[in-house]
Symmetry: D2
Subunit: 372 residues, 4 copies
């Protein structure tokens, strides 16, 4: 009756009604999510947020672009801020294991009929031969192997701020049809680690990994393609609350959208911020090892009020509804397709939704219902 | 324009319109808040909450009563749970410096016309000569000096749970007229450390101390006399989130009412829980030294959205409206008098209220307004 | 002049003078270090140490054996305690990616002329088809894929002790000729992440990984084959000091051999304990991602006093000289071969050795020299 | 048999053989230790250490002097660095409750025949009417009430470094005859909270408080009068290890003399540093409330190896033997008188000394004995 999540031996997500074909070409061997390119409308404001407030390291910068990295990183950047007219995500970038994996990426997406561009000297500083595609879900993905090495600042405690960000942890993408997106990402070599469903099998979100953490990216059900958030990792929880404390001292606490809290899914400690353009940034720490080939998959009931916050604290509506546009390879915003499945917000909050703390104990209501 | 609080050399709270007389008898010399006696309707459930979940130490127990203490404590108890028909607070207990201070307490309250009872062998186990009074605000106060010493378990790391509670930190009382209550508590020897006002001088809450922390008790404006909460201290912040994590694991996350978060007032890290009877318990850590005779008083603007939570996270309505009844010396609930001043909730939340993150920047709204 | 370590693109360790042949058979695909089988002389005492003090989870136990796991683990065990006449390590166990990798392990070691045993129902509870070998360095290695799944207790905060151990992190092996051992482990598919050398190229220790952390095992120069230690991970540093605090409360502080401290190598926070049989256990947290194919290798100068402890605190001699015997497949202790290269202790401590805090600043001596 | 410390109702320290007379004049009412004036030989180097490394706040500075404070402080300074020819402590400064307490200080020390100086405009910036004395133990003490208020930076998380120092916690003084010093400090109004003795009643050290923590100052047996150390408090333990990490990154780890560790005495987490002139600085956090009039006194056995470090880690000899000179009111170093009682180092370390982890279990030796 506790409502604790169900553990499965394999991906428990229903087959998609309208699947993307599986290419016969093998996918590239993706090592990890490596960086995100964000278009921002006010570069100075964005730089203040990511550098002065969050403390990311400036690897390089010019008049239109700032290349940033985390303190444990040895490749050129984990985040590119680029000036543009509309806030958007321009590239979700993955590192691949070998130079030849770029050929595999070209073949894989070409077979899918996707638009593919390759530049031997990269699309941005610090990165060599690169493939960019518009994937079948509408997202701009980037694949690269060659990259400039820079100093890993892990030992540079003299430079590290309170609340030091040490790694890029993951992306989170909004897409209308989660099972369809998951099946495609599995074709690309990703593995599901956790998901949220209801009893009818409607899938609200799924987490997928290449590196052995809970995710390199997640698919969140909603109108898409959109970027839900990018997440950076700290070592300890107090480093996340230190960022909140600093935002308060700077009278920027309204940048805190949700949290801090403990996730049910992933078991990580989290915080969600909104940057000056509204791009969402998660600060995240302490999920678990998922690298075994038979890593158990954890399925949460959408009505379990501890799935998104283990402490049962409410998810704010903006977290469900707002997200960043993504660009096509010409830099134009991709059209957004509406989700047709029921939304997680609708089934869990408000007059038509419900959640429980203990399954079978619904009459007790849940915290948000008690208080608002 | 930041809206940061104003610092004063002395108590900035307006004089009460209807003051309680100042006795000519000197007040007792209060050392600190020392314990609270709570009436609970289900002793087994209350014991599970305070002992199994929160990890307080059982000094003694019998069929109707459990005496509990924190790990750094050397006196018999900091919390008494006693079975009764209605959840209520039966005694706010203060330790006084000398046995003679009990005589002073008798004289002080007798002069005020309060009901006073003295028992040389105490009202509860572990405590000797004791004075109990119904104070002019309607609260049942207890004063004692003689007390049984027990082992201070500060070094007993083998017994300490994750999220170890080390001290009773303070009480928080609900009273309709805050300036009137504060002036009376100053007569009793308390000093104001922080308060919340609006530009018109309406006072919404005040924090007052005997020991050199931010408070031994606070007066919160509302229908009263009622107990708002009792607060226990941990050493570190992760010990507070550990309690949240454990509540989640026990599927008791609905016991979390508000937080965790950082207070503006007091600068402490906090969490509010509700026990099985609805009594509110705060877990609290890391306020600041207030023991200097000229300790600056900090006054917060009621519209400053960082006053109650430095990160701007919303205060849930139940936190403003719900509180525990208090008993008279015969064990009957004291009648509750309605607050006539405007309420903090009304002026800060919802259609008629407003708050700001940055003063002069109201058009930006604030977080709660954006999201609910 | 700081003496900071040197970063290389590839393994900087000199080629061994007397290499072990590289098999033509491909090595098994090792996922991670998975468990260690330890022979203990007093099972009850060992159980108290690992379960009551360190808080490992008992998956199963019988009269001669206890199977233990960490809180994030989903396979049957990470540590096997087995009664025997002489304290020793009986198996360093690695999980492989597929059942077929066991065939590869058999071929790989058979080609090397090693003793190989395979049991389809495993050598211990919870594990299926297993290969055990005496490797060319004299260590008893185990490889398995099939394993019983058990509950991952990552969310069971109600069960987790203060100082919760969440993962098996690594082994550390003592071997006389580090370059020879490293070259062989690279044949087995390991990659070097860090090492300690002197200017002449004498290699004192090397760290090697399969999973993308700093190591699954390290080779420490000394008389071997012996087990230097097994390491478990916590999430946060305070969980390591909590273990120290508990040992003090239990009057078992003499179980603390070295630390807590911050490693230079790996950048992790550490503590070394000795169990009742003298087996060394490290508690370890927060190294860095090493999973990129071109992860930079970090080489430390043996005379850098911050290499083993970033704070320059002394390494106690027992840490250099004492280690556990390892068993052959018949359960007899392997003979120990003396190291012929200079020892790290000799070149860094005492009359003949030296270390520096800042290179080129040797006249300042170093901390240990000042104080003992 | 554990050897745990003994708890007493009152000061258990033997009466001194050669007591300082108790004045008939009442002592001043001391609120707390408030600041220390240190003479340094290289002001720029000292400023780098206290400001750039430790992160203290510069309230004011000129060519010869820097006035520093902690982040929770609202008075002008907690530490004065002043250029001079010989490293020394020039004033141990206490805040008193009222201006009239300065008259009491004058009378108290005049009756004792001590040299007394009073300056209505203070001896240093930021402080008004001040009394300085050479106390009967040879220490230069300062008493003041009037002081300039400055901003309390407790909420200024935007300015706080990693490892933020929030309060001056205590002094520690070296004196040859501990019982004599303690009896005199009790005349001055201090209360003993803990001490170290042997079975014969030889007293090696005692901790004494005015504010309700374990101490405002301690008396450590040794050649004196000398300053053993000054201690600043952090909120959490990780802030202390952050200072160690930063010292490592700056290649200044040789500034770490002892620790970090957990004290037995006081139960606090600690670290000892040496500044560029060799002045010792402790970073300290999380002792316990001592403000009750009958606070139990804790007496530790000098042979208990957990008394100085709860984890049994060795106390380095320099910590016992080295200390800073103190100045008379003319700025000349006070002559140092040798201790005639046995020294703690001699009775606990080395060939003639012994310590135990468990009383009655001496044959097991202790950690240092095992390893050096």
């Amino acid at each position: 009756m506790t409502g604790d999540p169900v553990v499965s031996d394999r991906d428990p997500i229903p087959a998609p009604a309208d699947p993307i074909p599986t290419p016969s070409s093998p996918p590239p061997d993706i090592v990890r999510c490596a960086s995100l390119e964000l278009v921002v409308t006010d570069l100075a404001a964005a730089r203040r947020f990511y550098v002065d407030v969050l403390g990311l390291v400036v690897t390089d910068e010019d008049e239109t672009t700032v290349w940033l990295r985390t303190f444990d990183e040895f490749i050129h950047h984990n985040l590119v801020l680029r000036t543009g007219p509309v806030p958007a995500a321009a590239a979700f970038s993955y590192r691949v294991r070998t130079p030849e994996d770029l050929d595999r990426a070209v073949a894989f997406y070409t077979e899918l009929g996707c638009r593919v561009e390759r530049r031997s000297d990269g699309f941005t500083k610090g990165v060599g031969d690169t493939v960019r595609v518009e994937d079948p879900l509408g997202f701009p993905l980037e694949f690269f192997h060659d990259v400039e090495h820079v100093e890993r600042l892990a030992w540079r405690y003299d430079l590290q701020p309170n609340g030091c960000l040490v790694r890029l942890d993951h992306f989170n993408q909004v897409t209308p049809d989660v099972p369809r997106a998951v099946a495609h990402m599995e074709d690309l070599g990703f593995r599901v680690t956790e998901d949220i469903q209801d009893d009818a099998g409607t899938t609200y979100a799924a987490w997928m990994r290449r590196k052995p953490t809970v995710h390199d990216t997640a698919m969140t059900g909603g109108d898409g393609p959109r970027l839900h958030h990018i997440a950076f990792a700290t070592h300890e929880k107090h480093q996340i609350t230190a960022i909140c404390d600093r935002l308060g001292a700077l009278r920027r606490s309204d940048a805190i959208e949700r949290g801090p809290g403990r996730h049910g899914v992933s078991n990580a400690f989290y915080l969600y911020l909104r940057d000056p353009d509204g791009h969402r940034v998660e600060i995240y720490t302490q999920d678990y090892w998922t690298g075994d080939p038979d890593n158990p998959v954890v399925t949460w009931d959408v009505h379990d009020n501890q799935r998104r916050d283990w402490w049962g604290n409410p998810v704010v509506p903006s977290w469900y509804t707002e997200a960043s546009r993504v660009l096509d390879l010409d830099g134009r915003p991709q059209p957004v397709v509406a989700r047709t499945d029921t939304s997680e917000m609708a089934v869990t909050i408000g007059a038509d939704g419900f959640s429980y703390t203990r399954k079978g104990d619904e009459e007790r209501g849940f915290k948000l219902g008690h208080t608002l």
